[in-house]
């Protein structure tokens, strides 16, 4: 049973990792806690749902379409809610993304209803039995997609010219501009890529957990934040590992603690606090010295 719970934790953790990868990309490049990232995920889930339901398109076409749509949504958020704000008021972008969260959530309730909506079965779920263990094809899919995107994103950031430009912008917008990097374009691209990743996460969550509501965004925004803090702010590999740690923590809170009272969040947040006490930069974060 413990082994099965390890698999459960791994699969749940992969979902959190998928959410946190895009989240951490925006923080890494812009130093911005994009609180509306969870709502972009929710929008991606609904876009995926309606693309599959209305057009009957298979998942391998519906998913890229949802990614493009959420990518565009991310760019719109940047253009309308982040870019016009004055740079010297540091809290303004955070507050603005909270505003975007409320707008998107209420818009979704108006458009789709406050209902839990069943996500169409985009792929056939096959349950593989390995001895007493049970692993479903959808779980394998989400783990595979998370790992694949992490690797692709990692190489994109470290090995490509655009990725290097992103890292330069992350260091300093001014220096990047002086070096000839088109900062506005890089910021726009970062929002687009991170939001497309959120869209992927939304569709995957719909497939694995069967139903979506306009309220799933906030849950994942908070989980994503915890994962980022555990893994190290702005670190893609840290987001992946942090997601797995959170998934395991939540599962084992059910296994190890009394079940009559809900201690899941207390346990998970407790682990986060312990990690931050001993390693304030998160497991994979690095201290930045400014002089």
């Amino acid at each position: 049973m413990i082994l099965q719970q390890l698999i459960n934790g791994l699969m749940l953790g992969a979902t959190y990792s998928l959410v946190a990868i895009g989240y951490t990309l925006i923080f890494g490049v812009l130093g911005l806690l994009h609180f509306a990232h969870g709502e972009v995920l929710m929008a991606g889930a609904f876009m995926g749902l309606y693309i599959i339901m209305w057009s009957g398109l298979p998942l391998y076409i519906a998913l890229p379409l949802a990614m493009v749509a959420t990518g565009v949504l991310g760019i719109i958020i940047d253009v309308l809610a982040i870019r016009p704000l004055k740079k010297d008021f540091h809290l303004a972008p955070l507050l603005s993304t909270i505003g975007v969260t409320i707008i998107l959530q209420n818009l979704a309730v108006k458009l789709f209803g406050g209902y839990g909506t069943r996500f169409p079965e985009a792929i056939e779920t096959v349950n593989y039995k390995v001895g007493p263990l049970l692993i479903s094809s959808t779980n394998i899919l989400i783990l595979g997609v998370s790992l694949f995107l992490m690797v692709v994103l990692y190489f994109f950031i470290t090995k490509t010219k655009v990725g290097k430009a992103m890292r330069t912008v992350a260091e300093s917008h001014t220096t990047a501009g002086l070096l000839g990097v088109n900062v506005d374009w890089i910021v726009l691209l970062t929002f687009g890529i991170a939001s497309a990743l959120a869209g992927t996460a939304g569709v995957m969550i719909g497939i694995v957990f069967h139903a979506i509501t306009p309220f799933i965004g906030l849950t994942f925004a908070l989980k994503g934040l915890v994962v980022m803090l555990i893994g190290g702010l702005g670190n893609v590999v840290g987001a992946m590992i942090g997601g797995l740690i959170l998934g395991m923590a939540e599962v084992f809170s059910i296994v190890l603690l009394p079940t009559e009272i809900n201690l899941q969040d207390i346990f998970s947040f407790g682990i986060m606090i312990i990690i931050l006490i001993f390693k304030p930069t998160g497991l994979f974060g690095t201290r930045v010295t400014q002089g």
Partner: protein, 391 residues
């Protein structure tokens, strides 16, 4: 016609017409004014928005029908409504506003037990009738003689359901999973189901709690699989109920589920599909599969207005019934609708609700008990062939 006959004939005709008017129940007691002001609290945003939206659509349909048929006592209804966003916080200022500023005669709503729990104790001061269309946590209407609920409380609903479920599946052992963030789900899971299990000789193996936004039930089901229970008691709304049963079936758990009214809604089948086949549950309104032509007509109209054509939870038909009950009470209790009689009219409406007996609504027959809760016919539903069937 000769002139000498004209006057007597006209007099007889006038008396006849007057007699017909007085005899006609629909024309009883013409109300004063241009509008009958009714308040409503519908939470159309927040986590319970589905229930508030359904209630709003249900209430709107009833008001449109009533107004098309001449209104209440010949005066059309005007609804002033507010969104409580599923939170108790805004509910009290809303109620204050409905009493003193909007000057409504009665309020349809709110929905959630957690809001009723906060607002009902204030009603003795506000002196305004509030009628919830979905709250089912036991004990809340007893908080004030002005607070009513056109629903059955969970304890009344679940007793026959548990008995029938045990008899059907020969349940000897069971586990309970409940949403500890939701007031009525907690009461169902923590207090009502354990008592009923004991009453019917079902051994409770273990209790588990989860949260409204819990997505993944796989760790719970891995634990439950090892316990091998005959039944699963669910204290939650349908979305989590459906998800946890999907996961139970995925992991090969054969235990049969039972749940309360928030779970026994069309969404359970829409999301749960085959995984909820054989589910037993209580309800405050039989919706999908109900052959009553009034319900069929209501659902046709409802789905033409709901986002995505979705079927309502029971707050929809209960809110619809509330509006018709309000009309009946106002007409029968001699409400005048004169501004000077506002408080007297509110008191008349309260008395009307207090003695409401056998109202044949589309959600079932409603009678108020001694504290102001519905005590109509208890319904047990079973999912069979992808729809709810009355047991």
């Amino acid at each position: 016609m000769k002139r000498r006959y004209f006057v007597p004939i006209m007099l007889v005709a006038c008396f006849l017409v007057l007699g017909l008017i007085l005899a006609s129940p629909s024309q009883a007691a013409k109300l004063y004014g241009k509008k009958v002001k009714i308040g409503a609290i519908y939470s159309i945003s927040g986590v319970c928005a589905e229930w508030g939206m359904a209630a709003k659509i249900g209430g709107d349909i009833a008001v449109e029908e009533i107004n098309a048929a001449g209104g209440i006592g010949g005066v059309p209804i005007e609804v002033t409504w507010y969104d409580a966003a599923c939170k108790a916080g805004p509910a009290i200022p809303i109620a204050n506003k409905l009493v003193s500023q909007d000057k409504v005669l009665v309020v349809n709503g709110p929905c959630q037990s957690s809001i009723c729990e906060v607002i009902f104790p204030k009603l003795d001061r506000l002196k305004l009738v509030l009628v919830s269309f979905c709250s089912s946590k036991p004990g809340l209407s007893a908080l004030s003689p002005w607070g009513f609920r056109n629903t059955l409380t969970s304890d009344k609903q679940l007793d026959p359901a548990v008995r029938k479920w045990k008899e059907k599946y020969n349940i000897k052992t069971a586990v309970i999973l409940y949403n500890s963030e939701d007031a009525v789900s907690t009461v169902e899971g923590k207090k009502i189901l354990p008592v009923l299990f004991e009453k019917y000789g079902i051994k409770l193996l273990k209790m588990y709690t989860f949260q409204t936004q819990t997505l993944d039930f796989s760790p719970y089901m891995t634990e439950i699989k090892a316990l091998n229970p005959d039944g699963i008691g669910i204290g939650s709304c349908y979305e989590q109920g459906a998800k946890l049963m999907i996961e139970a079936r995925r992991q090969g758990i054969k235990a049969m589920p039972i749940g309360g009214a928030c779970n026994s809604t069309p969404g359970l089948i829409e999301i749960g599909g085959d995984a909820v086949e054989g589910y037993y549950g209580s309800t405050a309104a039989w919706i999908v599969g109900n052959p009553d032509p009034r319900m069929v007509k209501f659902l046709k109209e409802f789905t033409s207005r709901s986002p995505g054509g979705r079927m309502p939870p029971y707050s929809g038909p209960r809110s619809y019934d509330n509006m018709y009950i309000i009309k009946k009470i106002m007409e029968e209790e001699g409400v005048t609708n004169k501004p000077g009689d506002l408080q007297k009219d509110r008191e008349k409406i309260r008395k009307g609700w207090e003695k409401l007996t056998n109202y044949p609504g589309i959600s079932g027959v409603t009678t108020m008990d001694e504290v102001g809760d519905g005590k109509g016919g208890v319904m047990t539903l079973v999912v069979a062939g992808g729809e709810f069937v009355l047991k």
